[in-house]
Symmetry: none
Subunit: 123 residues, 4 copies
DNA sequence: GTGGTCTAGACCACA
DNA sequence: GTGGTCTAGACCACG
């Protein structure tokens, strides 16, 4: 019944991202069954169609496989899961570096800025 | 006639971000006049309405000021420009940290990951 | 334990097609007994219900006959088997011609395209 | 107001296939604007959502590009269009050959069968 | 029970 | 005006 979605990104993408994170973090294992579309819809407090779209998108990306009449499962292709983790990570770093570069930061300043951020965080 | 916009973000935001970056990097100085809406529209290859919206948005954030009949100018309030730089930077780092945390990375791993990224970049 | 089904077509149809092909190719003869539903299900790695449906469908088409308590058999009506071959073949060619026509190919170009395809295959 | 869809394939795919054919046949040129979602929906006698899905699918395949607030256009990347034609053609021939092979036909028999089919057609 | 498709109707941001 | 997303509710084929 979690209903804390951002307004900027489509909900179906946010849910897909969240599930991908769970898989990458190992909270969901290869071959494990995802909740059914309807179940997930209730849990997330959204319409089943929205979950359907989430699952379709994830299947298109090869993260998930659907077995007819049985449900949707995390792919058993471990290679894909490894790539997924790397891909997600690289995308995030890419965006970060590009944005910081646009602001005129050098690579050293980026690392420095990040460390300062954490130091401030601890206080 | 630059026409390389992403599909995910609104064009007017992308242009605003680009202008903000220029200002933060010092390529545009406090008090400097921005191109007219029409001129900017032609240069960017977009609808003048879109530029209008960009300028409105930037004015709302206090980055630029519109002087009637004269045009749009970078604010002369240096304080605002300093804050702008910090604000943009913090937003970027915030997003980065949150995304990486979602993937299960610790603070140390984030710094490490970033440095690895740069090392790979140099090769 | 063959488990290489397409996602687009129903599994029970794919199995029916496969069996029909075997019959048409002469690998299964008129009057020959098909594997039992359970046996076939295990061999194919699918639910017995699915095989049941396959057999029902094939019986509906007159390709097989069910003898109570004895099992399912390829029909002994040779006429039906002849027609089956022609029917299957015509369906395939029909689909091919219609699809190619949709792409703007003339009859000559279809034959030509097919021959080119084989030539490329041999290299 | 054409409403002659097969029951076997999803409507949104059938429409996508039809549009692709038109593009491949040259009836729609690179850069040409497609009807708006709503317009197309009325013309086809289906729900706008269905057309939306058609366009999304085609964009995913690179056949079509959407410009924000302006509409959906045939891609101007001629290379993609060439590949599309080849790809569609090869898929059709592939399916044909595989199906015929399953029935036990040799390559020569396939060509022969096709030519006979056309001869019968002319009578 | 499962996922897949479709409709009807609505709202939104963007140009 | 455009496309994009979402809801509500329905029906279907499949296993």
């Amino acid at each position: 019944m979690t209903k804390d979605f951002q307004t900027s990104k489509p909900i179906y993408i946010q849910i897909a991202d969240h599930l991908s994170s769970q898989i990458v973090r190992g909270e969901m294992r290869a071959g494990e069954k995802l909740p059914s579309v309807r179940e997930m819809a209730i849990n997330s407090g959204v319409n089943p169609n929205t979950i359907q779209r989430t699952y379709s998108e994830m299947e298109r990306m090869g993260i998930v496989e659907t077995k007819r009449g049985q449900g949707t499962f995390v792919t058993e292709n471990e290679q894909v899961l490894k790539e997924l983790k790397i891909c997600l990570q690289t995308d995030i770093i890419d965006a970060f570096v590009q944005n910081m570069k646009e602001l005129g930061f050098s690579q050293e300043e980026m690392v420095e800025g990040l460390e300062q951020y954490f130091r401030r965080d601890q206080e």
